[in-house]
C-alpha cells in the first residue's frame, strides 16, 4: 500500500474512534438511567437500555456517513490526469469504503458487544443488590436526566423498584410495528449505502486507468551494446498473436 492509502486509513481510524466513543457514551448513559430508575432487573432490561441508547445514534451516524461520502465521492470522480488526483484518490478510497464499514460496525456490532460486556455487570448487580446499591450511590450522579421511557411513564411508575409495567411498556414500545418498520428501513438504507459505495469504489478506484494507455508501439526504446531494448505493455505486445 502507498503512503497515501495509509494516510486515509489513519484518518478513518480517527473518525471511527471518535464516533465509537460517542456511541459508548450514549450506551453508558442509557445504562445509568435504567439503573437509577431501578429498571435494570433482567437481560431484557439491559437490551432495552442498549436499544434506547443506540437508537439515538442512528441519525447522527448516518448523517456523518452521508456527509463524508458526499464530500469524498467527487474526488473519486476526478479525472486521473488531474493534478494531485492520483494521491487524493488513494487517500479517499479507504475512507469511502471504511466509513460504510464503520457505520455498520457502530450501529450493529458495538451495541451487541456492549450488551455481552454488561451482562457480567448485570449478573453481579442481581446477585448482590445491596452491595452494588452502595456503589451505585457513589457512582451514579444524583441529577440523572430521565429517559424517554421514564418521561412517558411518569414519576409514579418509576418509583417502583421492580416497575414491571415500565418494562412491559418499554418492550411493547420497541416491538410496535412502526418502530420495527423504522429499524428495517434504517438497516436497508445502511445496506444500500454500503452496496452503492462498494460498487462505486470498484468502478472508480479500479485498475482500469492504466489500460487506457495501451498502444501497439513501445512506450520506450533504448540502445545498448548493439541491442535495441523495447518496453511494451503486454496487451500491446501480444495483440498480433
Amino acid at each position: 500500500m502507498s503512503v497515501a492509502v495509509w494516510v486515509g486509513l489513519i484518518a478513518l481510524a480517527g473518525l471511527d474512534a471518535e464516533t465509537g466513543v460517542v456511541m459508548l457514551l450514549y450506551l453508558d448513559q442509557a445504562w445509568d438511567r435504567f439503573r437509577a430508575a431501578g429498571r435494570m432487573n433482567s437481560t431484557t432490561d439491559l437490551q432495552g437500555a442498549v436499544i434506547e441508547g443506540a437508537v439515538q445514534r442512528v441519525r447522527p451516524k448516518i448523517m456523518t456517513i452521508c456527509a463524508i461520502l458526499f464530500g469524498l465521492l467527487p474526488i473519486m470522480w476526478a479525472p486521473a490526469t488531474q493534478s494531485g488526483a492520483d494521491v487524493m484518490k488513494r487517500i479517499a478510497a479507504p475512507m469511502v469504503g471504511g466509513v460504510i464499514t464503520s457505520g455498520i460496525l457502530e450501529l450493529l456490532l458495538y451495541p451487541v458487544i456492549y450488551t455481552l460486556w454488561r451482562r457480567r455487570h448485570l449478573a453481579a448487580l442481581l446477585a448482590h443488590p445491596s452491595s452494588v446499591a452502595a456503589v451505585d450511590e457513589a457512582l451514579i450522579p444524583v441529577a440523572v436526566a430521565p429517559s424517554y421511557s421514564s418521561q412517558t411513564l411518569g414519576p409514579e411508575a418509576m418509583r417502583s423498584p421492580i416497575a414491571p409495567n415500565a418494562r412491559g411498556s418499554s418492550k411493547a414500545e420497541w416491538r410496535s410495528p412502526s418502530r420495527r418498520r423504522a429499524l428495517v428501513a434504517v438497516l436497508l438504507l445502511i445496506v444500500a449505502v454500503g452496496a452503492g459505495g462498494f460498487f462505486a469504489w470498484q468502478k472508480l478506484a479500479g485498475t482500469g486507468t492504466p489500460d487506457k494507455a495501451v498502444s501497439s508501439a513501445p512506450f520506450a526504446t533504448q540502445q545498448v551494446q548493439g541491442l535495441t531494448v523495447n518496453f511494451l505493455h503486454p496487451k500491446a505486445s501480444y495483440k498480433g498473436r
Partner: protein, 85 residues
C-alpha cells in the same frame, strides 16, 4: 500491478536475442529520500522477451534502470519514464 514486457532485439538484424539474467528497477528521486520500486522479472515463452511486474506507488517521473548479464555480455541502461496512474 502493471506488466511491462521488455524485449531485446539485435539492432542489425532485428531478431529477438536472449540476454540471460535481467533486472529492472524504478526509482523516484525526491528531496531527502528516494522511492524505490523493484520489479519481478519473468521469462516468457519467446526467447529474448521478458515480463516485468512493476507497481509504481504514485504517478510522476521515475528513473528506470535496466541491467542484464548473459550470452550477449553485461550491460545496463537507465532512462526517465513518466508514470500516469
Amino acid at each position: 500491478m502493471n506488466d511491462v514486457v521488455i524485449e531485446f532485439r539485435d539492432t542489425a538484424s532485428g531478431e529477438l536475442v536472449d540476454v540471460g539474467t535481467v533486472k529492472f528497477d524504478l526509482d523516484m528521486n525526491m528531496l531527502g529520500m528516494v522511492m524505490h520500486d523493484g520489479s519481478t522479472i519473468q521469462r516468457t515463452d519467446t526467447l529474448g522477451r521478458y515480463r516485468a511486474k512493476v507497481e509504481p506507488e504514485m504517478g510522476g517521473d521515475w528513473m528506470a534502470a535496466l541491467q542484464f548479464e548473459g550470452p550477449r555480455g553485461k550491460g545496463q541502461v537507465s532512462f526517465s519514464v513518466n508514470v500516469k496512474l
